[in-house]
């Protein structure tokens, strides 16, 4: 299984090399900012183009099919007892391929977990396969993309007194994992609606912050993630999301995530997303439903 993940990571690395090679050629053309406002979505909490929690089929950035675009983002979710900071970049090539890099930084604030700190790096790739969410208004076919997120958990800090420094000590089978997903996004302009459905194959516990696989299960499970949003005007989108998750750890009664968000696009260079997010219980040691504010700022072209 270690071999499997290493193999997948190598394949993603090879794909990245090819993409970046093609991207370098494309990058000689200047960014055209050619897509319509908001049609690259925002960047979700694992670094991919999407909503707040769910990766969508849209390609991040404003580069049209003849160009490229990129975004940097900073996102903070604060619940009663934890906070999660995510920052990174996403680059979209030819409105076809997206490559993203993100770091997640998870902290505890409630004793005895007030020094808890878990970091995770995520490399993502996404390829649009068929359909166009914007232009195909005369057909039902959504924009469909496939993607992968290779995640590397960098260990646990702040639990030294308990002798815990790795997620494997909490029951996870692995510190590294790869999520695979297929996303379908449809913008129904006639109804001013955006609908998204994503199916993710995953072993990740709390997105990977608590590792991959565990004492209760160590096989890939298909989990559904959905989003629905109303296009209030071309600079304002409001919606809801729901994301199911596996439950691999005996020590973590993991729950689905959900949120209600509003995203504002004052210009094509900036977006701000505010949400109320419910993340459920995080570990059996703190059986309190975690919920709170989500704020994401993004800048790019």
């Amino acid at each position: 299984m270690h071999y499997g993940i290493g193999h997948a990571t190598r394949r993603i690395a090879l794909f990245l090399a090819v993409t970046l090679g093609a991207g370098a050629a494309l990058a000689q053309t200047s960014p055209d900012m050619g897509k319509l406002t908001a049609t690259g979505g925002v960047i979700q909490v694992e670094g991919a183009g999407g909503g707040g929690l769910v990766p969508w089929a849209l390609i991040s950035g404003y580069g049209s099919r003849d160009s490229w675009g990129a975004n940097a983002h900073y996102t903070r979710v604060t619940t009663q007892d934890y906070s999660l900071d995510t920052y990174g970049v996403a680059v979209g090539f030819a409105d076809r391929v997206e490559v993203s890099l993100a770091t997640q930084d998870f902290r505890g604030s409630l004793a005895p977990l007030n020094d808890l700190r878990i970091k995770q790096d995520i490399v993502g790739v996404k390829v649009k396969l068929v359909g166009d969410a914007v232009y195909d208004q005369d057909m039902l076919l959504p924009q469909i993309a496939v993607g992968a997120m290779a995640k590397r958990n960098k260990g646990i800090g702040g639990l030294g007194v308990l002798g815990v420094s790795k997620v494997t000590q909490l029951g996870a089978r692995d510190e590294n994992g790869v999520d695979y997903y297929v996303a379908a996004t449809k913008i129904l302009l006639d109804q001013s609606l955006l609908l998204n459905g994503t199916v993710r194959l995953t072993k990740a516990n709390q997105m990977g912050l608590l590792g991959f696989g565990g004492d209760k299960g160590d096989s890939y499970q298909a989990k559904l993630e959905v989003s629905a949003a109303y296009l209030i005007n071309r600079k304002l989108v409001a919606g809801v999301e729901y994301r199911m998750k596996p439950r691999n750890l005996g020590a973590d009664n993991e729950k689905a995530y959900y949120d209600a968000f509003i995203a504002w696009f004052p210009t094509k260079h900036v977006s701000v997303t505010a949400a109320y997010a419910v993340l459920g219980d995080i570990t059996i040691f703190n059986p309190v439903r975690q919920r709170g504010a989500y704020l994401s700022v993004q800048t790019g072209f």
Partner: protein
């Protein structure tokens, strides 16, 4: 007299159901013929000032372009008009229109509708009718 008013009502009802069948709700939302005229009057100078696309229209008779746009918006929105221009593929065939240029004109149209106080959901309904033309118009 009674019979006359009855048949007038019947005629009105028939007309109403006919126009309902054609669904002119977008046309009405745009403000009818007058609204569309006003939107296009706002749109033309936006196009002429838009660095992304103004050169594509440099040799065009903008009065003619305006009339064709009015007809097209009227027809697409379910209004009582007929598009008298040439098919989109022929008018744009040699122009090598890029995707970014297509979207630039879309953005100018959105701005023109906004300035004419067209509600966003009506704007989106018209854009929904125009969007599939991307496949015909964008040839580069």
């Amino acid at each position: 007299m009674k019979l006359k008013s009855l048949s007038a009502i019947a005629a009105l009802l028939a007309f109403a159901s006919l126009s309902h069948a054609a669904d002119d709700s977008i046309y009405v939302g745009l403000g009818g013929q007058q609204g569309i005229k006003s939107i296009v009057a706002t749109l033309i100078p936006l196009i002429q000032a838009d660095a992304r696309i103004k050169e594509s229209f440099a040799d065009s008779d903008m009065k003619h372009v305006g009339m064709r746009l009015e007809e097209q918006f009227c027809t697409l929105s379910g209004g009582p008009c007929e598009y008298k221009g040439e098919p989109m593929a022929e008018t744009h065939g040699g122009l090598k229109v890029t995707n970014a240029q297509f979207n630039a004109l879309t953005e100018d149209l959105q701005a023109a509708m906004e300035r004419n106080k067209v509600p966003s959901r009506i704007q989106n309904k018209l854009i929904a009718k125009l969007a599939p033309m991307q496949r015909t118009i964008v040839t580069r």
